[in-house]
Symmetry: C2
Subunit: 332 residues, 2 copies
DNA sequence: TTGAAAGCGCTAACAC
DNA sequence: GTGTTAGCGCTTTCAA
């Protein structure tokens, strides 16, 4: 664990000179430069970034808090964030909030204490007023996926409204008039936006918005299955279903299977979030593909911009998703 | 950004007292304790863990390097590691090596400089002799998933040999005598172990090991598809296929689909790594489910044990996988 | 062109 | 019971 003063001694120069050689931060003669470099090599020197961080008041470390890194969407975002961050010399600490407000808060406290340079956050439900303080006092905060209206915090997100609108419009064009919607927690902006897209599409087509065709709740496979069963048991059941997330999609598939319903012949289906598996399910799934990589890249790029002096934007950036046509929607 | 000396001033005590109150590290009278706590609250004090780390020579931060966090296996491992780490007050920096030795090396350098307390690593291919030095000089290193034979580094891994053995034995019992194997890079211990399990199962059943039924290569969907096409084009093609990874499994499915082969009627199939989607593919997939969570938990637990003073084991821990029976293997 | 030394915020040995 | 202070390893101002 050689330190700068060890190198200085061995090379017969001052610590200032060593530091300047190592960081290329002021002119040093060839002679001394060579001696310093050799000494550093001989001693197996590795700069201590902890000391450097203390001195410079920046850690080149970012925080990344999402509900669960196992989600295909968030792991893709995480990958993009890490790619971008590492290419600029930053590392990222990954945290799983599990949709738990208290856990999220605890992570934020820790990250403050660790003096991260910036935070990318998919907030849980709950009062997030304190984030304004965090952003003002500690480090820039960039939201992903979920807006926090009125917080003034910038957010990078899929254009959920448009995504849902296009999915539903597609089903309507194929002749469906009763389309069930199975969504996540109503209080999340993602759910609200997708629901809005669903409603606008119906309205524009002159179709009624039937509350009994809409189910919102916890986005798990089991709940999705239960929700599907419920909608499909209505006296005039939907001829098509639209699920807002991967877990709910799996729930729908389970329900169709357990009822021996053929898709798309008996019930058409469109999901939200494309994955590698979607082409291989029975039937291949039509989905709204979320631009996860773009969201991560944009969020991290903006964050790094701010760290390099640009002003924090207060806008929401919506990135358009893509409707991927496969068999489950029943179109040619 | 109040610091300890600010609190000391405000509370009219020494910095030592403040530190001891904050860390509960020596007796302080109720009186002073209360004054310190109030001052800390009033000033919105957050301990500076960078300074603390410099002083204590530990950061309560772990490194986690895998090829790609998007992989269902690694993201599950990451989640388990993070759960365990955070419950002990540690954070984890996640890095994606992309199977690139140079990238992996660069990350390790950075993590050394950041003075992480320990590293969990799924090594890429390449000479890893330097890891012994790292482990000796800087921090404990725990391998996951891939052994580095002769390195003396402990490894937590799926019992790949047994997993493959059981899958193949299952197919043999169902009457298959020509079973194709589609695996990843030959130099990886995971590939070698799974191949060994495949071979041992055949040998025990008195079946020949035909080299033309074995394909090893880059584990991508495209390569998996190409490999399947090749095996299925043999004059006496395999009646069952065994794929070593998720990507290769998707490739097999693509090949079966493009050739209009029914599974399991025309070709039976077993994959490695279970995912949420496996019950919903066409047909539902029989797979060897990897104990990803257990691997992550065990790795992190061992690492934390070492950090708390226990000696680093030099063993390899193999965690048994589970064969999950679904339709694709063609058994009742 | 280079060096001496202060100071980033914290802990803890030592002194009282 | 509490306080003084050195020092963790680095950067950078100031001086020469």
């Amino acid at each position: 664990m050689a330190k700068i003063s060890d190198i200085a001694k061995q090379a017969g120069v001052s610590t200032a000179t060593v530091s300047h050689v190592l960081n290329n931060t002021r002119y040093v003669s060839q002679e001394l430069r060579a001696r310093v470099e050799q000494a550093a090599r001989e001693l197996g020197y590795r700069p201590n970034l902890v000391a450097r961080s203390l001195r410079l008041k920046r850690t080149r470390t970012l925080g990344f808090i999402v509900s669960d890194i196992r989600s295909p969407f968030y792991s893709e975002v995480a990958r993009a964030v890490e790619d971008q961050a590492s290419s600029f010399g930053y590392n990222v600490i990954v945290c799983n909030s599990d949709e738990n407000y208290t856990r999220e808060l605890a992570y934020i406290e820790t990250l403050i204490s660790k003096r991260i340079d910036g935070l990318i956050l998919a907030p849980t439900l709950g009062e997030h007023g304190f984030l304004k303080e965090v952003a003002k006092f500690w480090f820039p905060v960039l939201l992903i996926n979920r807006r926090l209206d009125g917080s003034g915090l910038p957010c990078i997100s899929t254009d959920n409204r448009t995504g849902a609108y296009e999915a539903i419009t597609h089903l309507i064009r194929a002749g469906h008039r009763r389309i069930g919607a199975i969504g996540g927690l109503a209080a999340l902006s993602t759910t609200a936006d997708r629901l809005e897209g669903y409603q606008v599409a119906l309205r524009e087509a002159g179709l009624p918005i039937r509350e009994d065709l809409i189910w919102l709740g916890r986005p798990t496979v089991e709940e999705g299955q239960r929700a599907s069963e419920k909608l499909l048991s209505l006296e005039s059941p939907p001829t098509a279903l639209f699920a807002f997330s991967t877990m709910l999609t799996l729930g729908v598939l389970a329900a169709l299977k357990s009822r021996n319903l053929r898709c798309p012949e008996d019930v058409a289906f469109v999901g939200f979030s494309d994955t590698l598996w979607c082409p291989f399910t029975d039937p291949p799934l039509t989905t709204v593909a979320q631009p996860a990589r773009e969201v991560g890249l944009k969020a991290c790029t903006l964050l790094l911009d701010v760290l390099h002096g640009k002003p924090l934007p207060d806008e929401t950036y919506l990135i358009p998703p893509t409707l991927i046509h496969r068999r489950s929607c029943g179109c040619p």
